[in-house]
Amino acid sequence: MSEKNTALYIHVPFCIKKCPYCDFYSVATLSLKERFVDALLTEISLREDPQSAIDTIYFGGGTPSLLAPREIESILSRVRDHFNLETDCEITLEVNPGTVGPGYFDEIRRFGVNRLNMGVQSLCDEKLGFMERIHSAETAGQALRSARRAGFDKLGFDLIFGLPGETETSWRKDLDRALEFHPEHLSCYMLTYEPGTPMHNELQAGRISPLDDESAASLFKFTSTYLEANGYLHYEISNFAAGPGHRSRHNRKYWDLVPYLGFGPSAHSFDGSTRSWNHADVRRYGDELEQGVLPVAETETLTREQVLIEMVMLGLRTSGGIDIKAFEKISSQGFMEMFKEVARECAARSWAMIVNHRFILTLEGRLFLDTVTSLFAEKIWNR
């Protein structure tokens, strides 16, 4: 895998306000931002690799658009000093539409950011209210228009569906509003009640009655059918692209199990066999880097079994499915020999098909991704 390009992820752990459904690491105060940026610059220097070939940089969070343009500039210039960037390197910034002022997009574009992922979540104020977002649909619309005006021709939107009481009609209206902006990329996430989040607590306490399984399943299928009819490729469980070239270069690295470098608190790195991650604690992150120590919380080297399980778990998420030949190279055992029963079970339920040596889930099958993954995992464990 060494000849492949590497992805670089930067986690910006600050938010104006925590969203009740979100389980990514961040703190709702900006007091440590300067210290964080300094520490981040140190981490980038300490982990330098001039031999690398970086073809995507992704600012995620948290709320990366809380970084001032000059902070983004210094971070990117530090990256350029210590890593080798491909000429067409994709540089994405996640943006909360509620955080950007006039001129912001022009400036960051000048510093090299060439793709935006807009945390729109919805273009319906009622839904935004339920999700306790800090922006309205109108603000989001303004931000989108201003990004376009600044010349961004790669815009991605994050949307969430499957809120309590959501219907196909309401979700379709939300989608239609988004489509008016002709985004190059759409991430449509079914609302998940992640353990540890306030929304999960509300659910446990019975104060939220979640959308029933049946309706959530049908919204999921509707999303796929509707967006494909509008010219989008459903290339991963929750991701849609306006064409093959608009698929997220960055996120595909995760699903293809190729190396990536993660900087910032809680960020994960992977070199093809070993994964490590930083402390999910911005103070500790700063402390350790100020002492010249890498703030690594844990490291795990994947066993062959674990690599196989991740190949299945991640491959099944994508429209490319599991690459059977690549799988067999690692398993040294025939794919069909290992998974005959799983394949038969999936075929009987119209959950999967094998095309060009790839095991690919159908739309119905994608609804049962975790079940199918478990079926595969059991076979891998019992090998």
Partner: protein, 601 residues
Amino acid sequence: MNIKRKNIRNFSIIAHIDHGKSTLSDRLIQLSGIVADRDFKDQILDSMDIERERGITIKSQTVSLPYTAEDGEEYLLNLIDTPGHVDFSYEVSRALASCEGAFLLVDASQGVEAQTLANIYLAMEHDLEIVPVVNKIDLPSAEIDWVKDQIDEDLGLDSETALLVSAKTGEGVASVFEAAVAMVPPPEGDSDAPLKALVFDSHYDPYRGIIVHFRVFEGSVAPGDKITFLSSDAVYKVEEVGLFQIKREPVKRLMAGQVGYMVAGIKMISDIKCGDTVTLAGNPCEGPLAGFRDPNPVVFSSMYPVASDEYPELTEALEKLKLNDASLVYEKDSSAALGFGYRCGFLGLLHLEVVQERLEREYDLSLILTSPSVRYEITRTDGTVEIIDNPSLYPDPGEIETTREPFITASIIVPDRYMGAVMQVCLEHRGVSTNYQYLTSNRIEMKFTLPLAEVVYEFYDRLKSVTQGYGSFDYEIAGYQETDLAKLDFLVNGERVDALSQLVHRDKAVDRARNACKKLREEIPRQMFKIAIQGAIGGKIISRETVSAYRKDVTAKCYGGDISRKRKLLEKQKKGKKRMKMVGSVEIPQSAFLSVLKSSK
């Protein structure tokens, strides 16, 4: 310690649950000074977590307290602790047989309860000197005069002699020592006669083997003596004898009248039976002490490890637990659904729960228990009679002539405003009211004949709930009566799950089946397909529930930071599956097996 027989006192404290026995015992220990204050942990005698949590004594412990009385003499006061639950009444009776006196503890706000009565009858059977103690006099709700009236009228004791104490604040506790000296008679017995001693308990020490708790009635015993247990005929050489002073305190010799322990390299718990007589192998006493009987389990259930590969661990754990609990009996059992396990017999439902909890906590096992059953007596059409406690051995109904089930006589004491509610609960449980009497102007003792099987099934919880905790309950076994039994089976997607089968009274079968199906529906997680849950008698389906299939199972997002976590979740699910039992293609969690044992009320 060299102490004269006339300066020894052997006594128990008997009380209804929650009347403060453990707290009083703790105060007495504290006052005696054998434990430094800083080492003092509340309720020293209840040393098991379960005991402290439930506030009951399961495993009794005994303690010898040195005391200098007002007459200036040194006394040794042996406080023989007793288990505080009806399941263990035989063990209580053996402990009482080792005493000359008993303090009867009555809660100043609760008054006399069913167990108080049962205990006092036991104490009277053993001719003990009974000293009433009114406890919790510090409570605002204490009604000392009312309790004194009960002591006079209900118990027939002299309330003039009653001690007034608050074990909590310590008030009056010292008077218990003086009363022990003044009112409990010293033990009798000839230290020169052949050894005659009573085993009233035992426990296991991993370094010393089984430690026998005993009372010497005649003769004496010292290290080096060869002793024998009359019922088991086992012979051992005594290694150590001594007194219980929280720690074991070795002495040179235990004489007639004393209470203590013995270490004799004993490894076989089957040799040591509560109530057995110990004597010298070379110079035996004439005959055994009266009152011995083999432990008699009344409730049976099979235990299976949730993970089938933990069967050897379960075997080992039961062997170890048995060392501390001679009344636990078990034999191998197997189930199509659950694999290998053990059929266990218990003294009662509480005993069952205690054993289960100890196996899970102390031995880190995860267990599935089958529905508790009593012993049924079945006469076949060919005239043969057999005792059956396991639904899997229940014969074809066509071969059964008659079935009989064990009954109990229950005594329930409640404020009379709950009389109707209690009557209702008893009738629901096939009870027959035999008699009632007013103990005081508003407290009533009700007597019922009830099938033991009904008591095993949630009766006690129901009684507590309808009487808002004011009802007290005690029972004794009262023989067999004819009954109409049915074997209730449960099918999951058409497959019979033998471990869920129950023997029930035919009139109750439909209710039970419906309740259990409902519980199973709540506990069995949705799976890829629809699951039918049915209750059946023979081929006839009498209840049905459905667990619908899930419609989606998909993780919405998975990026860099999620991958390891998601994979670990999968690995965790794999471990979780070890806690599931596969029946056909359906995964049934451990909790589902437990849920059918409880009613929905």
